[in-house]
Structures are given as C-alpha cells and as structure tokens.
Amino acid sequence: MARIVIDDLHKVYAGGVKAVTGVSLDIADGEMIVLVGPSGCGKSTLLRMVAGLETITNGTLTIGDRVVNDLEPADRDIAMVFQNYALYPHMTVRGNLAYGLKNRGVSKPDIERRVNEAAAMLEIADFLDRKPRALSGGQRQRVAMGRALVREPAAFLFDEPLSNLDAKLRVQMRVEIRQLQRRLRTTSLYVTHDQLEALTMADRLVVLNGGVIEQVGTPMDVYAKPASVFVAGFIGSPAMNMIDAGYLRDHGSMPAEMPSGTDIVGVRPDDLLLAKPEGPHLALQGTVALLEPAGAESHIYVTLDGNSAPLTVRVQGLPSVLEGQGVPLYAPLSALHPFNKASGKRTD
C-alpha cells in the first residue's frame, strides 16, 4: 500500500536518445494507473525506471515515504509482471512463487501459507508442482500474477502482461486482473499499447507520446474530451475522424460557434449520423466508399465530396445504404472536438 510520486522524471540513454522527458505523476494509494501510448512513447521506460531496472537520469521517484531513485529493484517493495511472464523455467510453479519470499528470508511455514493462498486466489493450486513449460499461456499468466502477489508488495507494475495472449483469453484476464486489483487495493501501474485495455482497466489513464504526457484523466474524461489531436486519434476505436476546417469553410458548413484558432474538427464515428438530428448540427455530403458489417454494428466509410480521406461512420445493425451511393452526414455541434493543427491542442 503506497502512494507513488513521479516528479519530473527524465531518461536519456547512453547514445543521447531521450526516452522520457519530464514526466510528473501523483499516484494515489490503491489507484490503478494505466500508461498507454504507441510503441516507443517511453511508457515501458517509465515503468522500468519505477521498477529500478533502468537508472533515472533526472527527477525524483518516491514510493511510500521513501525516495527510491538509488535503491535496488529488490529494495523498492514492488512486484512486476513481465510481458513474456519471465517465469523461471527450471523451477516448478511452487518454486516460482516461493523464490522471492525465500530470498527475503520468510519462514518456511509462512511461505507455504502465502503460496497456497495466492494459488487458491488465482486458481492455480492444481499445477503447483508443474514446470512452466507444461502450462498454457493463460496459466503462465496467472503464475506470473501469483509471483507478484505472494510478495504482498507496495505496488504492482505490469508491463503489457496480456499482449502474448489470444484475444478471448486477453478479455478474460483483463477482467480478472481488474477484479483482483479492486479486491487487493494495491497501487498499480499498468503499461499497455491497447487503448481498449487502457479504457477498461484504468482508474486514471495516462496517455504518453514521444516521452511526454499528453493527457491524464479518468478513461471517460479522456474519451469525452481528448486534450490533443494525438489523444483523440489514439483513444477510441475506430479512430476519431479529423476534418480540415478549411474544407468545412469552403463548403459553407463551418459552424460559427467554433473557438478561435480551430483548424481541425474532430468527430467520433459514433457521432456521425445518417439522419438529421434535433438541435444545431453540422451537415455534410459524401459517397459511401465501403460498407463493413461487424455483427452488432457496421462501419461505413464515406468519402466527402471534394475530400480524399474517407470518414468512418459507426451505426447499429446493418444500414440500408449501398456502396457508391451518395449520403448526407450529420453531427450535433455538441459532439465536435475543435483542435489547432500547429499546437495539436484542443481549442475549447
């Protein structure tokens, strides 16, 4: 149980590559923070700095009440779940779970009890005496989790723990990790590149890009009000449509209420409608380029007249439009996200 304070953390690698530049974050006790961003955004480096696997070039890292900048990983009271699980292949599951406790001089009966508790909690009690290679991907994942939680650390660190699992198992483990974290109330830092994982698991979401924080907020805040063009494009699937304000002006459909400095208008695929809504709205005209049924919903790719990049429209069920057909598109003004192209920031 601990609060983690990341204060102006920098990481510059030996070759001069700047991986993280000035990240500050205050993680409350028991909070689940998800770091999300594309590959190379510095999220893993940040996590590894917290773990103590990378040195901190500049800044202060506090876990609990201690500044841990110069402490060994073992002394930081954290546990980490690795992307490839990093289970010790020559030890049984029991050996894997007990290893960290043994190293810390926990007594034999205590080890026994804690291993059994963790195994029961994660439903891996049946394979305690197997080697990791005899386990399936999902079971290995559980063992990796178990190894983290037997230690009862101040914080859990997750480094893309679900990316090696197949889609179905990933959803299942996602739910389990979240439930477990809720129950144990252990401060957690979770790294992923999957925006859906980030949205579903986080108490607060941190979107990283190019070594800096783009936005911090609850998943719904970040989704409803992305602070930058990058966040808008990264969070939400299918990605938000970006329409050039110049195009709207040329076609006389630029709403007058847009804040000054707006030259990109974003609109989520859900907010583009085929039928005219009540209230003030944006009206566009385009041609259906492709219709993509996806079960409960369908994606319609619409090319605006005189604009090459198609917009994505998400509708429930299967719409009665044909490819090549001209369609009107509407978006309520309240659903528009105004951005400035030069700064990449939101203008309202």
Partner: protein, 294 residues
C-alpha cells in the same frame, strides 16, 4: 509435419553423391578400426617374424598390468582436472564479458584466439614457460620459495599438463558459455532482481541452472578432448614422465606401440579407448536430448 521429398531422376546419383563421405569413412575409420580390432588379438615376437593369434590375452594382460591401471587413474585425474579448470575459467570469462556492453566483441575475439594455436605449439609454449632452467614461471616461483621441477616432481608435471591442456580449451568453452548466456532472457534476470536475489544468488539460482544444457554438453566434449586430443600437449611437454606420472591412456598407446614396439597390446589399448569414446558419445546424445528443455 510434412517433409518435402526430393526424388532423383537417376537411381545411381544419390549413391554417387554419398560415395565420397562413405569412402572417407571406410578408409580413415572403419578400415583402421578393424585393423586395430584384429591386431588386438595378435602377438608378435620381438623381431616381428612370427605372429600368433592369442584371442583376448592382450586384454587380460592389460587389466592385470599395474602400469596400465595406474595410467587409467592418471587419465581420470588429468581429464577431470582439465575439464574443471577449463570450464570454470571459461565460465568466469564468459560472465565477465557478458556484462560488458561495447567492448564485448573485442574481448571475445581475443579470448577465442588461443583456440587457433596447434596443440603441439601450445605444448612448446608451456614447455618454455615452465622450463625448470630457463622458464619464467619457475623463476617467479623460486622467489616465493617454491622449487618447481616437473621433470622430477610428479605433481608439478601433472599441473603443467593440466594447465597446458586446459588453456586451449578455455576459448572453445568460452564461446559456448557466452552463447548460452546470451540465450537467457534478460527479463528472467530482472525478475530475479526484483524478487530480491543478489547478484551472486541470481547467478547460482537462475543463470547457472539455465546454462546446464551447455555445461553438460561442454563437460562431455571436454572429457573427450582431455582423454583423446591431448597427445600433442603431453608429447611436447612431459612425454608421459616423470616415471609415468603423466602417461595418459592415449599417450601410452603411442609409447607401447611405436616406442616399445608392443603392437598387440597397443592395439588392445586403442580398442578400449574406442569403447570409451563410443560410450561417451552415447551418453552425450541420450542426455542432451533429454535435458535440453530443462
């Protein structure tokens, strides 16, 4: 898994393609080996005029011969010491080089060089270094009050041949250990670090067990090397002396056969060596296949 099958148009082409390898094996292995087998059951008179077929008498005599049994013990001590020394030094070097980041390649190259030195040359090199009258090492040891003389002292002689034989093998072992270390995922070591294991503990509880397939493979290779490939080293340094103290089995084959002219006994000894090497090979294949996945 489906394997792709190639078919030859001519019936004879596959045989023709295999022929060179088969001929080489026949000429350089099967023929001499069978000669040795045949010869091991013969006895010649001292002038080589008469040859008698004696069945297994050569073998029987060998196992009653205290010199031969002593040579077996010498071989055991020699090969175990050589293997231990060369493997532990190589592992130490590999672990140290593996920690380096930029200079890894340069150090690896330097450490591999000795492997290119011919065994006899290496032997001569050590002969000079250890030479009781002109060598640098006895000179230094004398400063510490130790009187080095491998021509008189059996222990000194054994140390000399072990060091000379191990030195060359360090390069080979080093390469395999380094490759083995490279194949251990970094995340395992990191996980162990987070799990509170000190550097030494990480090595003995994670890295060393994960290296065990490499270690086992090298152990067999090194024992085979020490038993059969060290003729040059022995010949160039001690020639089996003093008083048979370094007369290992493979050197004794040569001494008894070509110096002592006892061809029957020499052949019998080489047959025994052949059996040992076959046994080691079987062990290697059986065990390595089983243990390679931990």
């Amino acid at each position: 898994m489906q394997t792709k099958r190639m078919t030859f148009n001519s019936r004879w082409l596959p045989y023709a393609l295999l022929a060179p390898q088969v001929i080489i094996t026949l000429v350089f292995f099967v023929w001499p080996a069978s000669q040795a087998l045949w010869q091991s059951m013969l006895r010649q008179d001292p002038f080589g005029l008469r040859t008698t077929f004696v069945w297994f008498q050569n073998f029987e005599r060998l196992f009653e011969d205290s010199h031969y049994l002593a040579s077996m013990k010498t071989t055991l001590i020699f090969s175990v010491s050589t293997t231990l020394l060369s493997m532990s030094v190589a592992l130490l070097f590999a672990v140290m080089v593996n920690r380096m980041i930029r200079s890894q390649n340069a150090y690896s190259t330097f450490l591999v060089w000795p492997y290119a030195v011919a065994p006899a040359i290496a032997g001569v090199l050590w002969w000079f270094i250890f030479n009781p009258s002109v060598g640098i090492l006895p000179y230094i040891l004398e400063g510490f009050g130790y009187d080095w003389n491998h021509r008189l002292d059996a222990g000194d002689a054994m140390i000399l041949v072990v060091v000379a034989a191990a030195w060359k093998q360090i390069s080979y072992n080093f390469l395999f250990f380094l490759a083995g270390l490279h194949s251990i995922p970094q995340s395992l070591v990191e996980a162990a670090a987070i799990d509170g294991a000190s550097r030494t503990k990480r090595f003995w509880t994670i890295i060393f067990p994960l290296l065990s397939p490499t270690t086992f493979f090298l152990m067999v290779v090194n024992v085979v090397y020490a038993m059969f490939d060290t003729f040059g080293v022995i010949h160039a340094t001690t020639e089996g002396g003093p008083a048979q103290a370094t007369n290992i089995l493979v050197y004794k084959v040569y001494r008894d056969g070509f110096v002592g002219n006892n061809l029957g006994s020499s052949a019998a000894q080489s047959v025994i060596l052949m059996v040992i090497v076959i046994a080691l090979t079987v062990v290697q294949f059986r065990w390595i296949e089983r243990r390679v996945n931990y």
